[in-house]
Symmetry: C2
Subunit: 191 residues, 2 copies
């Protein structure tokens, strides 16, 4: 997605350790027109699928998924929670997610009532690196007995193993920008 | 906002202790058409203001704020974070927020670069009860030297003191549904 790549090159910041920050338009601050273009592109790529629910994970996925739903016939958007809340009192579907960057394992939760076997679910998230969050979300879709249409990712870090691992599991993965390398302040995309 | 009140009566669930749950359309699962109507109503109520940024707080505020921005000329949406992330590495504006329900105090954070003195900020959130999150957000707007246009709330628990406290501080508060009481499974709205 050319518009997205250009925006990453223009406004993305490469920090020490070759960390890419897109806080000014995708994460901490969101450019809603860009999110509309992202949602429209997800809809184009998954136009062969009849999506019935969009599943994401708090927090950065929520805005992306909410706008994307406007291009998927306004299907309901569900976000998995990372912490157990007393507001979650129904039967829960849960999965363990390892965060390598944070060095912890946490449990993600979705109320069972919101995913049913008749659903065809699109998972949406902002970043894909090691792929652990996607694995957890796809595990929850499986526990619900629902079909997983695929995963829509805004930025895939192609130099980490998550994308390969997810694709090898037979999960359809559509990443709008795949970064092949970051070095010396230079961001290179995979064609 | 009649559409919202009807939806609360239809799909809201009153749990033990007279807790209102709106997880099926506003929080855990989101109805994006309803959020469009909510965003449009916020825009109508704040039509006398030239809003330049929308500020919300993770997680449930994000979807509401993202959709609302479409009715505010696509101003940037910023969400305050509740936990310190290593992705937040700029200068931070912070404020302490007491959560009575959770019995803890946490720090909310916004990167300083995203709020400037020229901004006229609309704060958006899903619920208003004790008003502590709104106080923290308005404190951050003040620290940035920006103007606070007001607060747009989807559901105000009118039987708790937050709304009164916020209004007494001279902060403009627009709540789309104000609940005056919940008892015996009956939800009553303030006219």
């Amino acid at each position: 997605m050319e518009l997205l790549k250009q925006r990453i090159l223009k406004d993305g910041k490469v920090k020490e350790g070759n960390i890419l920050k897109v806080d000014s338009f995708l994460k901490h601050q969101m450019d809603i027109r860009l999110l509309e273009a992202v949602g429209e592109e997800f809809a184009r790529r998954f136009s062969d699928q009849k999506i019935t629910k969009i599943l994401t994970i708090e927090a950065s996925g929520i805005g992306i998924a909410a706008i994307a739903a406007q291009y998927f016939d306004y299907v309901p958007v569900i976000f998995a929670k990372k912490t157990r809340s007393k507001n979650l009192d129904g039967v829960l579907l849960t999965s363990e997610v390892s965060s390598f960057t944070k060095g912890i394992t946490y449990q993600i939760q979705v109320e069972k009532q919101f995913l049913v076997p008749e659903d065809n679910v699109l998972i949406i998230d902002d970043f894909l690196a090691k792929g652990q969050a996607l694995l957890g979300l796809s595990d929850i879709v499986g526990q619900a007995g629902a079909a997983l249409a695929g995963c829509g990712i805004v930025i895939e870090k192609g130099f980490q193993e998550g994308g390969k691992m997810i694709r090898e599991k037979g999960i359809r993965l559509e990443s709008l920008a795949v970064i092949s390398s970051i070095s010396d302040q230079t961001i290179t995309f995979r064609e």
